[in-house]
Chain length 203, copies 2
């Protein structure tokens, strides 16, 4: 039997361990990762080039779970369906989000979704520069919504500083996932409707 | 002269130090925070109740920088102006975002902006439940956009997997802050237009 310090490593095992650390503590270091796997830090480098590659492997892991839907009749329905899939996968790892947004998207698997979004917005008649903005705006909304899905049951405390409008709004809140789901669908409807209104091709 | 380990502490000094740790490493621990201030962990507890209070103090620090604009003629313009202020302040501390979204908003100072948003959406004729959804959706878009503002110059690498639509979009990209600013304004225009279209009161 190999001793724990000599266990077989792989890029997949390293990715799993890094994801566990990020889920728990928001980040990872190479020494901390080696410790969690009970190997020497130098052993990690037999399988990965370093931190940036591990982050890209985590992105690949999460984005490979996204089901890239077939194009719908309306480009806007394709966009909405992709956004739902995207949020579903990222909501499992909210603390990974700021690590991923801090690094260049390199992994080919991520482009399954981005390609589908780019095609949908192109079908909507947007110019390439607008396609990039539209993808980015949807990305921002989805990642923020994935963070919101991981929010505590009580998002806002009932404090004396709340005005009447805010207090009335808070009184309607329900526990997650229902609250976050409803807010996401409400916002997605508004964002997509706004994009459709700006698009040269509505259908 | 006091020795470093006996330096005067305050909640403000602790908040500053925690924010530096979060900016650098995405999180903080009480022992790590004490070490960065060269005090014993027990000394921290003379000033703060613990981790949750420090997180709330960081939220208060960031949100106190938001200039809560006076209501504009159109409620939608008020919403857009608040969103810009909100993003400006959070973009300075992108790694703080997932910590803040994981804790209940308790600090009164945060309600300056939330109250103004609640009032604006109420002026738009939204029901209280819709007001909550609209605030949450805007919040998600702004926080995601703040993360995007901290993204690297090259957000997406030019990989063989990119399709023609994605490659054409990427070819238009310019370095930040111009790219992120343009995408935010494009998305904000769409989101607000979509909200206006759903609102009972347009003006």
């Amino acid at each position: 039997m190999p001793r724990p310090s000599q266990r077989l490593l792989s890029a997949g095992i390293i990715t799993d361990a890094a994801l566990r650390l990020v889920d728990r503590a928001g980040d990872f270091t190479m020494p901390g990762l080696a410790e969690s796997l009970r190997v020497r830090p130098s052993s990690l480098y037999n399988h990965v080039a370093g931190r940036a590659e591990i982050i890209e492997l985590m992105r690949s892991r999460v984005m490979s779970e996204i089901v890239v839907v077939e194009p719908r009749d309306l480009w806007s329905e394709t966009v909405a369906a992709l956004a739902r899939e995207y949020r579903r996968c990222y909501a499992k790892h909210p603390r990974l989000i700021p690590l991923l947004t801090a690094y260049t998207v390199q992994t080919g698997v991520a482009f399954g979704m981005y390609n589908a979004l780019a095609q949908a917005f192109s079908d909507g008649g947007f110019e390439p520069g607008e396609v990039l903005h539209a993808i980015t705006a949807l990305d921002s909304f989805v990642l923020g919504s994935a963070l919101d899905q991981a929010a505590p049951t009580v998002v806002w405390a009932d404090v004396p500083e709340a005005n009447d409008a805010m207090r009335a709004a808070l009184a309607t809140s329900v526990p997650n996932p229902a609250r976050a789901d409803a807010a996401f669908e409400f916002g997605l409807r508004a964002l997509v409707a706004g994009l459709v209104a700006q698009a040269p091709v509505e259908r």
